[in-house]
Symmetry: C2
Subunit: 227 residues, 2 copies
């Protein structure tokens, strides 16, 4: 499903160049459950943003489902992102003036799903993360962990083939985190591909493969025994 070839990302700070990602070559097959770990600043979110077509690499190649992401038009890329990929961002990226329900329904608006169906699917997604009773709340009226769960529901509402989750349990207590992981395992069991950044070993143990980053490089790629 995912194939990268010597993917690099550099940020330019005035005259300085900051290499966030260096020559990352990796394949992720459909149905895999991949955990991504590494120290703060090691390139995990940068990697995720490139996988999701949310940013462009400085150099290197990237095939997503056979399509060369670098050569897709903005519209084609946006369509793939919206229909095939679910994102859970490290900082949630919820719309502040929008209710939980409408935040979750947002991907469906882009997909032109009819209003009634949008509502029903968004409600189901909120129910799957235990927030049925909070659908009309704004993000400011929710705890940190509740906001994170809204972000997770939004990532799942379009039934994406590929889920990119950047620290999806960072703001959650252990029990809620394990409930979310059970949800992700179920989705993986249904054939969805999951790439998940975490720095919690208990969370990573749910995956069947572990990528480790250090200073922008992929330093380790190992199968793991699933917990």
């Amino acid at each position: 499903l995912i194939e990268t070839l010597r993917l690099c990302k550099q940020y330019r700070m005035g005259t300085q160049v900051l290499p966030a990602l260096r020559d990352v070559t990796v394949r992720v097959e459909r149905g895999e459950f991949v955990a991504v770990m590494g120290p703060s600043g090691s390139g995990k979110s940068t990697f995720m943003n490139l996988l999701g077509g949310l940013d462009q690499p400085t150099s290197g190649g990237y095939l997503l489902d056979g399509a060369d992401v670098g050569r897709l038009s903005g519209l084609d890329l946006a369509r793939i992102r919206n229909q095939k990929i679910g994102f859970v961002f490290q900082s949630f990226n919820l719309l502040a003036r929008t209710t939980a329900l409408d935040n979750v329904a947002l991907p469906l608006v882009y997909s032109r799903v009819p209003r009634r169906e949008r509502r029903a699917r968004a409600e189901r997604a909120l129910e799957s993360v235990g927030l049925s009773d909070r659908k009309h709340h704004l993000p400011t009226q929710l705890s940190g962990g509740q906001q994170q769960r809204v972000a997770i529901a939004r990532a799942l509402v379009n039934h994406p083939l590929l889920i990119l989750a950047d620290e999806p349990t960072g703001a959650l207590d252990s029990r809620t985190g394990e409930e979310i992981m059970a949800l992700f395992e179920r989705l993986n069991g249904e054939g969805n591909t999951i790439v998940l950044v975490t720095h919690e070993p208990d969370i990573a143990a749910h995956a069947d493969r572990m990528l480790r980053f250090l200073d922008g490089r992929l330093v380790s790629d190992a199968r793991v025994e699933r917990a």
Copy 2:
């Protein structure tokens, strides 16, 4: 240092009332290191916001260093907050258009510290969290964990007597998290009082006392053996 008596916080949602905190009575002495745990939505951040005078209780009493916080004027309360309390917010609350250095120096601006001293102290605080080489970066140019460390540096720059840290290691990898905890232990060893929300047992193990919340109530208050 902290004394609360039946502290309650209710949020009103139209005709609904949501009790975020219910009858919390607790004392925290100077020099204690207190961990606060509990499920998502159990009232931890609400409690922290009330302790820091950032929000008002619906009912109940609160003495901070002998002063009745509910009776302080806005100016007196702001002064106490700025000079005595360091905050690490769950969502960091960094100013987006401001460099790391200037974010860290902000409390010193309010304290009217001279510019040269502000800069020196902010640089030291950034050094203590391992971000000396990033002082001119904006929050958008920093990883999630790096932003969190800027927030921690800002909390410490005024040498506060009381540190209120709401999940200060949530976005950090384990090693960086333990480095931050070593820093907090050092500060506690110097007499500073620390109240820290976390859902990571390894982090909580650094404290000498544990408060547990559930559905807005303080359900457990226990001494722990420090790790």
